[in-house]
């Protein structure tokens, strides 16, 4: 890849008159040595898995093996159908789709890690709901995924994308930033605006700890995917309106690294702190442990 920072990415797109998605497809083909068509088709197959996960989460029983979560996406869809959403149907639909994919993941169904499984709902939530709303074709969406991938590539290599290393900000935060930047590009915004959306979005999740109850990718991960889809849309709207990230996005990525590195171990996916160690979190963990003992012996 010919870029290491978001500034370099935007600059390269400007110089070569490319969208981020288009540039990333070319970079990917150069990196892998495979034709662009092959890489494009591969990404398209991923997008189909995402759409299938949305469908599954909205129609099938997504109760997880722990029994802690499931069917929340369908609850939100009922409210949309009733025409009573607080946030408006556009935001609520993105949220419901994001919940759907996360619930499929928690029930050991098939998803695409974007960038991780814990944050797998946000990009499909934003992408699939926007595609339906604006009637975009799959080709456009696949370029959007290459754009999201380019942003994630920079974040991952300059900071981190795993909760165990950098807390939830690294997973949910990165996914929101990727979705926000891609949404800007899908709506015709410039690479520079897409990069601003990344900084705007990331700032909103700095410091978010990874504290899954019972160590499961369920509570609070699933609802954070729902919130994340809405936040990504908000960040995209700000950037498309001309709102800029005063602190350059690359510097925000550095801050995420700084904050994540300083985060205590109990707030990095170990289930030793945060929501996992509340009285209720501990009670759930005890109950699950007993259930698993029964099942194994």
């Amino acid at each position: 890849m010919r870029f290491r920072t978001l500034a370099e990415l935007a600059e390269l797109c400007g110089r070569e008159n490319r969208t981020i998605g288009r540039l990333m497809l070319e970079e990917q083909a150069a990196e892998s040595g495979r034709p662009e068509e092959t890489e494009f088709a591969h990404m398209l197959s991923y997008y189909r898995v995402m759409k299938e996960a949305v469908r599954k989460g909205l129609t099938e029983n997504t109760t997880s093996r722990s029994g802690l979560t499931g069917l929340d996406a369908q609850r939100v869809m009922s409210r949309i159908k009733a025409g009573t959403t607080c946030a408006g149907d556009v935001a609520a639909t993105a949220m419901a789709y994001a919940l759907a994919v996360s619930e499929v993941n928690a029930s050991m169904g098939r998803i695409v890690a974007t960038p991780t499984a814990g944050s797998c709902g946000i990009i499909p939530g934003v992408f699939v709901s926007s595609q339906e709303r604006f009637g975009w074709d799959d080709e456009k969406m696949v370029y959007g995924l290459f754009c999201a991938g380019a942003i994630g590539y920079v974040i991952a290599n300059n900071s981190f994308v795993s909760g165990a290393e950098g807390g939830c900000q690294a997973e949910i935060g990165s996914a929101i930033a990727m979705a926000a930047g891609a949404a800007v590009e899908l709506h015709g915004g410039s690479p520079e605006q897409a990069v601003h959306a990344v900084g705007l979005a990331l700032k909103n999740t700095l410091g978010l700890i990874c504290d899954p109850v019972g160590g499961l990718v369920e509570v609070p991960c699933i609802v954070r995917n729902g919130f994340g889809a809405v936040t990504a849309l908000a960040a995209a709207d700000m950037a498309l309106s001309g709102v800029r990230s005063v602190i350059p996005s690359d510097e925000v990525v550095e801050v995420m690294y700084e904050v994540g590195s300083a985060m205590p171990e109990q707030h990095r996916e170990t289930a030793k702190g945060g929501l996992a160690q509340t009285p209720t979190g501990r009670a759930i963990m005890r109950r699950l442990r007993e259930t698993w003992q029964d099942r194994r012996e």
Binding site: M24, R110, A113, A117, A150, Y153, A164, R289
Partner: protein
């Protein structure tokens, strides 16, 4: 760069619930299995850090065993891998590891099948990506994001040149390389990640080189590699 390309960010397609604790674990198990080169009869798995704390909830145990069965991250049988392992006669012991390790999500896998042994220390670094740190007592640097050759050889001048000459003659490009030895003129292990798949005839030619004792090829890149 720890993350190599767009599909290390968007992807893999996987069975949930965790890319680091499920998909990454499958790939770590698979590396170990391919280094042993056969179905292990004994598998001893030590888990460290967050792996040790949360493996039940994330299915890290079934994921590692799915890898030992040489399954991919999207295999829908992953939740039932322990049953399949029992059927093929694989005895699995999962325990909490002691001591410090390079990363919060780390596993040390010791496999055995008759006289054959493999020991792998590897971490899951996020998004299903992994880092292999140690193989059979040798320090290595390997992401398993590409096909890789693990070449066991004697530490004498010219071995690496002979290996790379054969690779270059077949148009195989090297992505990364690491060499470690136990002592001067003793055993050494070279790990060579390649862009292209190394076919069987080339493997045989490499294996026939003087001072090369063993070669294992690993490929956990999934369905996209030939």
């Amino acid at each position: 760069m720890r993350f190599k390309d767009v599909f290390s960010i968007i992807g893999p397609v996987m069975v949930g619930p965790s890319s680091s604790h499920t998909a990454g674990a499958v790939r770590i198990g698979r590396v170990a299995r391919q280094l042993l080169g056969r179905v292990p009869s004994e598998a001893d798995i030590a888990l460290y850090g967050s792996f040790a704390e949360t493996y039940r909830g994330h299915g890290t145990d079934v994921a590692l065993v799915a890898g030992l069965l040489d399954w991919s991250t999207e295999d829908m049988r992953i939740p039932r891998s322990l049953e399949f392992a029992a059927e093929v006669g694989m005895r699995v012991n999962i325990r909490r590891g002691a001591g410090t390790v390079p990363h919060p999500n780390t596993a040390l896998i010791r496999l055995q099948c008759g006289p054959h042994r493999a020991e792998v220390l590897a971490s899951s670094i996020g998004g299903g990506n992994i880092e292999v740190h140690r193989v059979n007592g040798f320090a290595v640097r390997c992401s398993a994001a590409y096909p890789a050759l693990f070449v066991s050889h004697r530490d004498v001048p010219g071995v690496i040149a002979a290996v790379t000459r054969l690779l270059s003659a077949e148009g195989v490009n090297i992505v990364s390389m690491s060499v470690d030895r136990k002592g001067r003129s003793g055993e050494a292990l070279s790990v060579i990640e390649t862009d292209e798949n190394v076919h069987d005839a080339l493997l045989a030619a490499l294996r026939a080189l003087p001072d090369v004792s063993e070669i294992r090829k690993i490929d956990v890149t999934g369905s996209r590699c030939a």
